[in-house]
Symmetry: C2
Subunit: 795 residues, 2 copies
């Protein structure tokens, strides 16, 4: 048994009077929670309850709330006694009534929302607004003071918590993990976050697994495997579990208080050892809190067990039966509100005195409004990482490797501030960002062996083979006011589609809340992309994440497709300086031809889209065809097509348009980066064919441009789910994105080419046959494809 | 210590000669694996190796392969000795060289692909095709005999395995879990699958956690937490772990053989007890196999440790240095191929005799080509579950509740066949499918309490709060030839976006493989949808999954939006009868007005789209406006708008078009369900305004119809991410999908209405103000909205 307190009897060291006051706070929070679910008016029950005092639609979740309230008041005690710095994360989905109740009791809610004042009228408004039109949702949300964690979609509480404590050595995140949530995959692996925390330089997470017993309709797995197995599981995850179990409030208060005293002292001791130079992986404590679902609610409703049952999950009873009105009144009176609140509706001062002061209140902790603490990164001059490009399309570079050099110096310049990390599912080096390991290590705080590479407890490269965990850590890090970058295989970033949704919603909602300060953007580098997964095959080929991102609110989402290294540097610099956004950068890691020197890259990226005059031969006039491209491989294939077209069909007037910022294609009524119709028409003409080579699914371009004048003439080549295991160029051929198919499309769309067209088409067909024969014989692409260089611009 | 074999010394019960032959098989498989990664020719090394024998591009993954080969040959032994029925699931991502090698050694590969014969020329082709253009990928894929598990995206091996053994009491799935994969969230929670398995009526999963030690660049978490902690973790997950650790092949063969003997006997004993009536949750055995990454490969390359290091992850060395050719030759000769293969390139008969016979070969197990075993469901007549609809739009029903009645009888009719289950993250009842619990229970095989509801080990309703696990179970169930349905909250189905991608890819690829037989479709019911998440708020509102599905290959994806209960019944029946598809059904669970009686529903759904003549007043002529709708709430709002427009502006000629099958909107060149242009134009006209009320994001409709003649006149109302916590009707209002905004749009778009238009517009504005005032005062919708019924069709 690891439990030094469970067997210690009832001779508490915590004064009974204090526990009694805490019990009163708990009852006050429970009362306010019930009130939020049920009442429109008569908040203090001054008059007999009538149906008109009760909401016509009863919505909300009672089941998890009393447990959250219980934890909250106990955390307040240790904050006050030990001057701790605690952020509260409520994993259980629908705990908002409890969180909101406590923040109101602490005064923070009324400070932020003065109309919800700490008096009878404020209490009435507090009740009314909950799950009411124009009001607040039934789960913790950006409008909840002290919250960094949306309670809607389950599974991310622990990874958010670990992200929050990175580089915050004085911060403790108390993370209540719901036993429903604990069944999700993302949560199940996020327990391992303890192996990536450095007790010397990071803060601590105290997981409190709340065995509430039931989900909506079913028991929870972890509540039904017995304490021995659960203990093994938590020990296997690397924790020392302490069990706080029961339903008698008096005993539970005493046990919880002593347990919390023990575990926060243990955490302090672990940190003390680490900070005095002891190197070990600590076994951090965690708490298993087993309490009845809907604790203190009605024991039975209509003869059916309710407290301690799944029937408490949401609203324990409706008003369909008249006798339920009395049941509600009895329930609410059971908390004896007259002993908790003054006749004016204010929490009685002796109870209110339990709250910590000022920023120590969990509802006012500045880490939970991270923008308050966010400092801009110190940025090196990105232009000094440029690759020289004397002539376009003649030298190669690995774009992400140069980006890695830049990130290395971002890391170095902010080493003292300790506010920048990079995250990746074991792909930092594979994605060519290895230079950052010149100035830091990979975070790793468990066994190491001599042959290991750059592992250290305080490493700033966070790698675990879980996209969910990487995303959750990064979100927690950003939400507490720091900066970061997530690099990932393009196909597998879909794993976090749903997390992206929720973060985008958080950002959208936060922007509408005056007191939420902007946080750093969530930046993705998607590399190892669809066009260079020829060796991994179909399962690794999927450019659809950008489709998903584009469906987010325009203010939040940005998608960048830099065609080469210098443009990638500009985009990276730009994204790391931005805030409240989700920036997706798609860029290949392979050696690729370079197009723009740094000056040209700056001009091009600043506009986000533009004509490449040096590649075009329309000389300011109206072209015969516009060849547009977005993405590195599509740009390469377009340039090769242009090069050959200009040499073989010199009379053809071609305009080359390259797109870096995908959002420029949308109308400016839809997106702030969108081009005006006149600017768009200037680039793409009103009536000329546009052959558009695109990195992703062709429909995405159509979706962005369908309102433009020339849309009917736009012919998009992109990923059509062909190719699988083959060569890089053959991937392009099979998806008709290659230079030959682009040329053929140009020839088909431009009517004025005359007999030269038929000749050129035949030559293209021959080339495709030759290609096919070559790759199936040799397993590599034809030398003329691999060795192609841009010549059209040469004299 | 749980380990009865680890301390048992070296006095093996397994004859040395047999172990020697198994060692030879293992070496043969390893030899073939190396050959696949490296060689184009000279497969038997008959002549000295030259650069021209080696592939120009070296691709593939060696690291995990020898471990997989080791497990494979040991499983073959127990299959033969005990006549077991085993399916092999390879969790490690890139194990294809090993799987393919073993299937070739067993003969299955050549039976399926005769050109890859069991001789020198076949071996040459076997080597050449691997990671070669037009060849096979480096992970297990549909073309791999015996595989039900794509090795590309990691995390689903165990949930697939548990899905496969449900209702297959004689089947054992040996599931190798990679220690990289084990870090993913979906894998971390899928260990709990053991609590949902009935030893009496289901088969067994034997997890083999392969501690290979390293991912691409980092150590793995589970390889570095020590055996005590790992043992606790596995015991916490409910298993009894047995450790097989080492690098000496002789000792490892002996230990693995004895361990496997023990655990398969233990599994048999567990099943025997359960099948003789003992009720208990068994502690199933699992194996921890710790072996060096790249085992039997080069110890060092260029002086750097390679065997047992992350450097073995992919291709251990390239051919850039000339001396590496010799290194490769030495390595391949170390397996002594001349002792393994005849001079003709055939596995020597005494080694080949180790393989099981016929269907007992894991590569030929029919469960791994589930279509072979798939029997169509016995289906009740769906029309007998119809709700009577005497007049459209006058009575209400809960569509999914009627669907639940239908599913109950599908469950009942197939109870003996045991080939149908429903899956849900704790939402089966919440989604109104509770009727199925009249004939079965929820699967649950751990502690139960008196107040629990319908839990039993052999229950056929699979509920765990993990969308990943539900999806993985269902995929495993379908891939082994059975049928099922996944019901989920619409917003949270995005959690499995990436799993959907991979399953869609599996289906697409399987269709191109002649020997893969069709399997039942993956059917989703998305309910609790965006328009009725007014109480849960923004985090629960997201209709974007259908956008994601529509981007899949046309042959695979279907999206249905039945507007009421009878159409939902038709669609459900249709989907459960289909194969090799992904069907997404979106339907609300709340009481809603009913539109079509069963005869009308059949006619309408069979077409997938159609004019509702009874609601239209264009009488076969050209209308002034087309009012289109797709989805239950959009249909309701459209009908209310039509009703009011017809009463207040009787001169307006309206055509109502309802869409059930979303794919009808696409051109028939893009999708087999797509309407021809002429049919589309007949419905939507060439030039009349179309006011389209849509369930999801408006851009999805534009994406589907942008090529249609009348596209410029299509005005789509849908979800624009407004609303959050409010009333159902206010959700529609805030997203401009409500009857009033639809009416206003009609009036704006039809020029011929004259002075009546201005009057009507003012009345609409007044109604919206009245609505706003009403909901913020009362918290519910106006009675005239809630009580609205269709009247336009009445005399």
């Amino acid at each position: 048994m690891n439990d030094p307190v469970a067997g210690a009897g009832m001779d508490s060291q915590i004064p009974r009077e204090q526990l009694a006051l805490m019990h009163a706070w708990w009852h006050a929070a429970n009362y306010l929670s019930v009130g939020q679910v049920y009442l429109l008016d008569n908040p203090l029950l001054d008059e007999p309850l009538t149906r008109s005092h009760v909401k016509p639609r009863l919505l909300g979740h009672w089941g998890t709330t009393p447990g959250l309230n219980f934890v909250y008041v106990h955390l307040n005690r240790v904050i006050r006694e030990r001057d701790l710095n605690i952020v509260f994360v409520a994993g259980p989905g629908h705990g908002a009534p409890g969180l909101v109740a406590n923040t109101w009791l602490e005064g923070t809610y009324s400070e932020i929302y003065p109309e919800v004042s700490q008096d009878r009228e404020g209490m009435r408004r507090l009740f009314r607004q909950f799950s009411f039109p124009g009001g607040i949702p039934s789960h913790a949300a950006p409008d909840t003071p002290g919250s960094i964690h949306e309670g809607g979609e389950l599974g991310y509480s622990l990874s958010h918590s670990f992200g929050a404590v990175l580089d915050n050595p004085d911060l403790l995140v108390a993370c209540v993990v719901g036993d429903g949530e604990a069944e999700t995959g993302p949560l199940a692996t996020s327990w391992h976050g303890n192996k990536f925390i450095d007790a010397a330089t990071d803060g601590a997470v105290l997981p409190i697994l709340h065995l509430n017993g039931y989900k909506i309709a079913n028991p929870t797995v972890l509540a039904r495997i017995g304490n021995d197995e659960l203990r093994s599981l938590m020990e296997g995850y690397g924790y020392v579990p302490y069990f706080v179990e029961g339903d008698d409030p008096e005993k539970m208060h005493d046990l919880m208080a002593r347990t919390l005293d023990y575990v926060v002292a243990d955490i302090a001791a672990i940190q003390q050892r680490a900070r005095s130079g002891v190197t070990e992986r600590p076994r951090w404590p965690m708490i298993v809190l087993r309490s009845p679902k809907g604790w203190t609610g009605p024991k039975t409703v209509d003869g059916l067990k309710t407290e301690g049952s799944w029937r408490s999950h949401q609203v324990p009873f409706t008003m369909e039966k008249p006798e339920h009105l009395g049941l509600l009144e009895t329930w609410m009176h059971s908390y004896r509100p007259e002993t908790l609140f003054t006749p004016e509706g204010r929490l009685r001062p002796e109870i209110a005195a339990l709250a910590p002061h000022g920023d120590k209140r969990m509802s006012a902790n500045p880490h939970a409004n991270g923008g308050l603490l966010m400092r801009p990164l110190r940025m090196p001059n990105f232009t000094s990482y440029a690759t020289p490009v004397a002539e376009p399309g003649t030298i190669t570079a690995e774009a992400t490797r140069l980006m890695g050099n830049f990130l290395r110096d971002v890391m170095r310049l902010n080493a003292d501030a300790r506010n920048f990390r990079v995250f990746s599912p074991d792909e930092n080096n594979s994605n060519r960002l290895g230079a950052v390991l010149e100035v830091t290590n990979r975070a790793w705080n468990t066994e190491t062996l001599p042959d290991d590479d750059h592992l250290a407890p305080d490493g700033r490269v966070m790698e675990i083979l879980s996209e969910h965990t990487c995303q959750g850590w990064l979100e927690g890090y950003l939400l507490t006011g720091r900066h970061g970058l997530f690099s990932c295989y393009e196909a597998f970033i879909h794993i976090v589609d749903s997390m992206l949704n929720q973060h985008a919603k958080w950002l959208k909602t936060s922007r509408e809340i005056a007191w939420r300060r902007p946080i750093a953007s969530l930046n993705y580098l998607l590399t190892s992309h669809v066009w260079r997964q020829d060796h991994n095959g179909f399962s690794h080929q999927d450019p659809g994440f950008i489709d998903h991102v584009v469906s987010k609110k325009a203010d939040v989402a940005r998608v960048y497709l830099p065609p080469d290294a210098n443009t990638l540097l500009w985009v990276t610099d730009h994204c790391l300086r931005s805030w409240d956004r989700i920036n997706v950068i798609v860029a290949g890691k392979q050696p690729e031809l370079q197009w723009l020197d740094m000056d040209a890259a700056i001009t091009h990226c600043t506009a986000g889209i533009g004509i490449w005059e040096w590649a075009s031969n329309d000389r300011g006039g109206l072209p015969d065809v516009v060849m547009a491209c977005a993405g590195d491989v599509p740009t390469l294939e377009t340039m090769a097509a242009v090069d050959m077209l200009r040499r073989h069909l010199p009379q053809l007037k071609i305009r080359v348009v390259n797109v870096v910022d995908l959002m420029t294609l949308q109308p400016n009524s839809e997106h702030p980066h969108g081009l005006s119709d006149s600017d768009f028409d200037t680039l793409f003409t009103l009536d000329r064919p546009v052959i558009f080579a695109f990195h992703g699914y062709p429909t995405l371009i159509h979706r962005l441009v369908y309102r433009r004048a020339n849309h009917a003439n736009m012919h998009v080549h992109g990923f059509i789910e062909e190719g699988s295991t083959t060569t890089p160029f053959d991937m392009a051929v099979r998806n008709r994105l290659d230079r030959y198919h682009l040329m053929a499309d140009v020839i088909d769309r431009v009517p004025s080419l005359g007999p030269a067209a038929a000749y050129a088409k035949q030559a293209i067909r021959d080339k495709l046959v030759e290609h096919q024969r070559y790759v199936t014989t040799h397993g590599i692409d034809m030398p003329e494809v691999l060795g192609w260089r841009w010549k059209a611009g040469a004299p």
